[in-house]
Each structure stands twice: as structure tokens, then as C-alpha cells.
């Protein structure tokens, strides 16, 4: 019988059990999706809580995006588990010292919060549709009203308070959620590449830039598909947000790397051999040079020159795509990179990405794109656009 496990080639000295890669590309996809959730929510909060009016055209799309991606966050994990049917063991009987078990509660709380905020934000629309539509769709909206058809000014004021409160709570919830993902890696003392106090913060800031970038791209694409002009003020607002957070993300990553090198603990020689060898392209070239520094310089140039019009739209969209790529590379370099450096500190392994199979590249790509399909359905059911008055939840 053909073996179902893949053995990794290695150089130097690695522990025998390490020759099987336990966390595949799916585990890199999982923090990527979580990051997009947190980052998209940031945009929603910037509008709802901090009053960034120029982000209004994407505020509701941000909520829908966050929800769509959150729905798919558990999927790569479930596909990876040896016993997915036992997944709820970690919630029913959680081990309180486990970061992974606690993450389940954070995530559940955040999903509930997101659904509640979405409901409040879309209530006037749901009520209107429930009254206007008949048939199955009408029944769907009537169910969603939860029996409340009151859209008076007073009720709206009351809803607004809830939206504000939920958005405020949502900020620590969304960012705590992603910080926690970073903690799951940073708290492990078995690998020098992961074991860092900065890891949660690095994950957080990279999450923010990825989510904001995703919304930039989605916004531009949605405008093109709907054949309406892009609101340049909104796009500029998104560009500013990416620009400011990408600098923090870059500085943190640089500090993290400098810390490893400067402390020079046991195994640093192997890390240096790794980053200057197999990781040179994925880390320095793709993640930093192409994915982070290029958009930073490009955005800086556009802000400095006051670029507007088509050049701004193209520039921001390309930069956002680069950032999305960079953040995926960051997840890859952490999850896969961490396992490529042996725990012995004396050897390197090499992960081979297979295209097919349960944990192959194709499944990973489909899982990354799947939330976009759900988002499309959600935008049909709950239009997030602000340009149609009737469709416009405020």
C-alpha cells in the first residue's frame, strides 16, 4: 500500500520524527483568512467608531467581507484534523491552558458579534424587503426581521447605539482574535523562528494591511462590475490606511528579525543559513521587497504627488494586490518556514507543495477564494452599496 504521509528531504541533523511536515499549506491559509477577517473589520470600525466618513462606501462591504471570510476560517483547520468529527471536543471540554482551545471561544464570540452587528446595520433593509417581497425570499427576510418591523427614527437611534457599541467591542474582539493566532505560534518555545513576543503584534498589523488591501481591491472591482465611478476619496482613505499600517508592520518584522540575529541564541547559525539560502526568495524578495517595500514606495509617491484619477485607482489596486500577496507569503514563511528549520538547530528540511490532495495547493487556493463566492451571494442578499438610496443601510 502506498504511504499516505509525505516525507521531507533534509540536510544536516534533524530529529527522525521531524521528517514528516505536520502543518501543511492549509495551516498557512488559516491565519491568512483570519487576518483578512480582522483587517476588513478594521475598515468597518474606522467608519462606525472613529467617524472616517470617506470610508462609508466600503463600511458595509467590510462587514460582509469579514463575515464571509470568518465563515471559512474553520474549514482549513477541519480539513487538517485527524478526527474532524471530534473538533467540538475542544469547545465542549476545553483544555484551559491551550491557546488553540481558547481561540475557539474568541472566534465564536466574534462570529456572534459580527452577526449581531450585521443584523442591526441591515435591519432597515431587511424590514423593507420583508414588507416588499413575497415568496421564499420574502419569507427569508421576514424570518431575519426576528419579528421587529419598527424602523421609526427612535428605533433607528436605538439601533445606532447598538451598532456603535458592537463596533467598539468588535475592535478588541477582531484584533484580539488575530493577535491570538500570532500567540499560538509565538508562545511555542520549541522553534526559535516562532518563539517571539512580537509574533502576536506582527500578525495583527499584517492582518490589518491585508484586510484593508482586500477591501480596496473588492471596492474597485465592485465599482467596475457595477459600472459606477470609483469614489476616489474613499480609495485614498483606504490607501492612507494601508500606507500607515504597512510601515508599522515592516518595522515590527524588521525588529523581530533583528532580535533573532542580535540575540544569536543556539540555532541562529542554521537560521542565517536558511534565510540567506532557501528563504531568500520567499522572505526577502517576495514578502519584503515585492510585497511590502514596493507598495510602500509606490503609495508614498502617489500621496506625495497627489496622484488622482485612473492612475490612483490602478496604483492603489496594484499595491493592494502586492500587499495581499506579501501577507500570504508572511503566513507561509512563518508556518512552513518554521517547520523547515529543524528543532535541533542543526538541520534544514524542505517542504514540497503538492498540487492535488486534501492538503494540496489546489485545495488551499480554492479555500482562499471560496469566501469571495459567499461574499458575492451576500452582496446580492444584502447590498452594501451606498449609491442606491433604497439599498442603503446607514
Amino acid at each position: 500500500m502506498e504511504s499516505i504521509i509525505q516525507f521531507a528531504p533534509y540536510t544536516g541533523w534533524v530529529y527522525p520524527n521531524e521528517t514528516v511536515f505536520e502543518w501543511s499549506v492549509l495551516i498557512a491559509v488559516y491565519p491568512y483568512l483570519t487576518g483578512l477577517v480582522a483587517g476588513a473589520f478594521t475598515v468597518s470600525s474606522l467608519y462606525q467608531v472613529f467617524g472616517f466618513e470617506r470610508l462609508k462606501p466600503v463600511a458595509h462591504m467590510a462587514l460582509l467581507t469579514s463575515l464571509s471570510f470568518m465563515f471559512f476560517v474553520p474549514v482549513p483547520l477541519l480539513m487538517h484534523l485527524g478526527h474532524p468529527e471530534r473538533a467540538f471536543n475542544s469547545t465542549i471540554t476545553p483544555h484551559l491552558s491551550s491557546a488553540m482551545a481558547m481561540f475557539g471561544f474568541f472566534a465564536s464570540f466574534y462570529v456572534a458579534l459580527l452577526l449581531l452587528e450585521g443584523w442591526f446595520a441591515y435591519r432597515p433593509f431587511i424590514v423593507q424587503q420583508a414588507q416588499a417581497r413575497t415568496g421564499l425570499l420574502g419569507r427569508f427576510y421576514r424570518l431575519l426581521t426576528l419579528g421587529s418591523y419598527d424602523v421609526s427614527e427612535r428605533a433607528m437611534g436605538y439601533d445606532k447605539k447598538w451598532i456603535f457599541a458592537l463596533a467598539v467591542i468588535g475592535i478588541p474582539a477582531a484584533h484580539g482574535l488575530h493577535g491570538y493566532v500570532g500567540f499560538m505560534y509565538g508562545s511555542l518555545k520549541s522553534r526559535e523562528w516562532w518563539s517571539s513576543d512580537l509574533m502576536p503584534v506582527i500578525f495583527l498589523f499584517s492582518a490589518i494591511i491585508s484586510g484593508v488591501s482586500l477591501l480596496s481591491v473588492l471596492y474597485v472591482v465592485s465599482c467596475k462590475l457595477r459600472k459606477i465611478p470609483v469614489d476616489l476619496a474613499c480609495l485614498k482613505g483606504l490607501a492612507y490606511t494601508i500606507w500607515s499600517f504597512i510601515m508599522v508592520a515592516l518595522v515590527l518584522e524588521a525588529l523581530e528579525f533583528a532580535n533573532i540575529v542580535y540575540k544569536g541564541r543556539e540555532g541562529v547559525d542554521m537560521i542565517m543559513q536558511y534565510v540567506t539560502g532557501p528563504l531568500l526568495w520567499p522572505y526577502f524578495i517576495l514578502q519584503f521587497a515585492v510585497g511590502a517595500i514596493t507598495p510602500l514606495l509606490w503609495l508614498s509617491y502617489m500621496i506625495w504627488r497627489g496622484t488622482t484619477g485612473r492612475a490612483l485607482v490602478v496604483g492603489v489596486t496594484v499595491c493592494a494586490c502586492l500587499v495581499l500577496f506579501s501577507v500570504f507569503m508572511m503566513r507561509w514563511n512563518v508556518v512552513i518556514g518554521g517547520q523547515e528549520i529543524s528543532k535541533t538547530g542543526k538541520g534544514l528540511l524542505s517542504y514540497k507543495l503538492h498540487l492535488f490532495g486534501k492538503e494540496g495547493g489546489l485545495v488551499a487556493a480554492l479555500l482562499t477564494m471560496a469566501p469571495l463566492g459567499l461574499l458575492y451571494i451576500l452582496t446580492r442578499l444584502f447590498p452594501p452599496w451606498t449609491d442606491h438610496v433604497t439599498d442603503a443601510p446607514t
Binding site: S3, I4, I5, F7, W13, V14, Y15, P16, N17, E18, T19, V20, E22, W23, L77, H80, L81, G82, H83, P84, R86, A87, N89, S90, T93, P94, H95, L96, S97, S98, A99, M100, A101, G104, S148, D150, V151, S152, E153, R154, A155, Y158, M184, L188, K189, S190, R191, E266, Q339, K343, T344, G345, K346
Partner: protein, 288 residues
């Protein structure tokens, strides 16, 4: 709709949300109490243990076995090990470890210093050269690969799970499927493990592997099924030179108590804070 019309709805909604909040708090409290009280007890229930057996010290897992009366310990005398790998083969057979060259509950490392070469050469039985020498992934041999080199110093180091007092694997397990027994062994409840492999990542010693066929993590448990019946672990039993020592630390005359008392022992990676319970004699600075 005028303002007065909206009032009852608003009041009703406030009351509803209030009740919802109350219910959530109660449910949260109930879950919290359950999590703090009942659940760890369930999670810590060893495989096949009858309820309350451990607490009463009655008969888990063998009749007349009381885990509160033992504190198992393991010693490795690297100066004695000859690298015959009988221990590795015995372990695989005894514990149904997958018959391949990549998954082990125990393994042996070879350290070789060659004259003029500042780097130490390290390999284990899973090295392709050694597998080629044995001709099988079910039987293991160290290839005589240094026969033409001028060897300055060479030694073997048997490795296995350290059954740490503060195990990182237990800390990270999301379900409590892996836990530390009162007699000092870290076990895995394979009927409760979800197969997330967080424990495999967390172990700094590379002692754990993931059993694809069973979908659960696995590792050495010092042959818990044997030691609780008064037998030695399989690897200790077959070692022809006595390089592996096992016993009860609560018994001052046991082989492990004497081993620790009569030698200057050390543990692997003490800086992790895991507090390992496999004690080594005769290892060199490169061993971790």
C-alpha cells in the same frame, strides 16, 4: 409611525435583550463552572479508566495498581550504548509504531567527531545511508560509514519522550487528550485526540509524531501498559548493555534512584522549563 407607537416595541426589545444578556451570563457561568470543575476531571481520565478509580486509588489500569504510590523515572547511560538499535525495533513491535523510517517513539543518535573537522557528524537510524545499510524500514542498523575516517570521539545517545513535569505538549493540547498521570507519565487518550498536531509542534525534543492511520498524535509512554504491571518498558528489557534504566523514584533502592544518586546526571534542554524526567549520563555538549 409616531413615537408613541414605537415605545412598546422598543421597551419589549430592551426587555428581550436584557433577558438575552442575563441568559448568556448564566450560560457562560454554567460553562465556566463546568470547565473549571467537571471537565478537567473528564479530560484527565486515562484511557479505559473506570470513573473514580484513580481517585480511590483502586485498580487503574491493572488491579492493585495505585498511581499515587509511584513516580516513574528513566535513565540513559550513553557511555554504555552500543547503537545496536534493538530498543528501537522492540519499541516498534511492542507499541505498534508505524513500520517506516520516519516515525519513532524512541530512537538512537550517533555523534562522531572526525579529526580535522570542527563539525560533529550526527545521524540516526532513519538516515537514508543507514536505511540502505539495513535494507529495510522495519529493521535498523547504523551503517559503518566512518570506517575510512580518523574518528576522534564517537558515542550513541538513545532518545525518547522525556515525560516532562511541565510538558509543553500537555499545555497546548486543546482537548486535554494528552495529560500527565500522577505517577509521572504523559499519556494520550487516542479516543479523545482530535489530531490537530499542536502537541507535535510544541515538543522541543521531537518526541511526538502523528499516526496517519489512526488520525491521532502518538509518542513514547514508557510502555505504561507494562510498567503498571510491574514490568520494564520494552526498550529497557531488550537493551543488551543496560544503557537504559527504569524504575520508581519513590523506591530509594530502585535502579533509577540508584542511577540518579550514583551519577552526575543531566537533562536535555533544561532552559525550556519543561523539567524532563529522562536523566542522562555521558552525553556531550552537542546533544540536545
Amino acid at each position: 409611525m409616531n413615537k408613541d407607537d414605537s415605545k412598546p416595541t422598543l421597551t419589549a426589545r430592551r426587555a428581550f435583550l436584557g433577558k438575552l444578556g442575563g441568559a448568556a451570563t448564566c450560560a457562560g457561568a454554567a460553562v465556566g463552572v463546568a470547565a473549571l470543575g467537571v471537565i478537567p476531571a473528564i479530560a484527565a481520565k486515562p484511557e479505559g479508566a473506570p470513573a473514580g478509580a484513580a481517585a480511590s486509588g483502586a485498580s487503574f489500569p491493572t488491579k492493585d495498581y495505585d498511581w499515587s504510590k509511584h513516580q516513574w523515572g528513566f535513565g540513559v547511560d550513553a557511555t554504555k550504548c552500543i547503537g545496536c538499535l534493538r530498543c528501537v525495533e522492540a519499541c516498534k513491535k511492542e507499541n505498534s509504531v508505524p513500520q517506516n523510517a520516519h516515525q519513532f517513539r524512541t530512537w538512537v543518535e550517533r555523534y562522531v567527531h572526525i579529526e580535522g573537522d570542527p563539525e560533529v557528524h550526527i545521524d540516526s537510524q532513519q538516515d537514508p545511508v543507514n536505511i540502505a545499510a539495513s535494507g529495510s524500514e522495519k529493521e535498523f542498523r547504523f551503517a559503518n560509514r566512518y570506517k575510512d575516517a580518523k574518528v576522534e570521539k564517537a558515542f550513541f545517545v538513545p532518545k525518547l519522550c522525556n515525560q516532562c513535569s511541565h510538558p509543553a505538549c500537555v499545555q497546548v493540547c486543546p482537548t486535554g487528550a494528552t495529560f500527565r498521570t500522577e505517577d509521572g507519565v504523559v499519556l494520550i487518550d487516542s479516543t479523545y485526540c482530535i489530531g490537530c498536531r499542536y502537541c507535535v509542534q510544541a515538543c522541543p525534543y521531537g518526541a511526538r509524531y502523528f499516526d496517519e492511520d489512526r488520525g491521532v498524535a502518538d509518542k513514547c509512554n514508557w510502555c505504561y501498559h507494562r510498567v503498571t504491571k510491574g514490568l520494564n518498558p520494552a526498550c529497557v528489557e531488550v537493551c543488551p548493555v543496560g544503557a537504559r534504566v527504569f524504575g520508581d523514584q519513590k523506591d530509594k533502592q530502585s535502579p533509577i534512584s540508584l542511577f540518579i544518586r550514583n551519577n552526575r546526571v543531566q537533562v536535555l534542554r533544561p532552559e525550556t522549563g519543561n523539567a524532563p524526567n529522562v536523566f542522562y549520563v555521558g552525553i556531550d555538549k552537542e546533544v540536545n
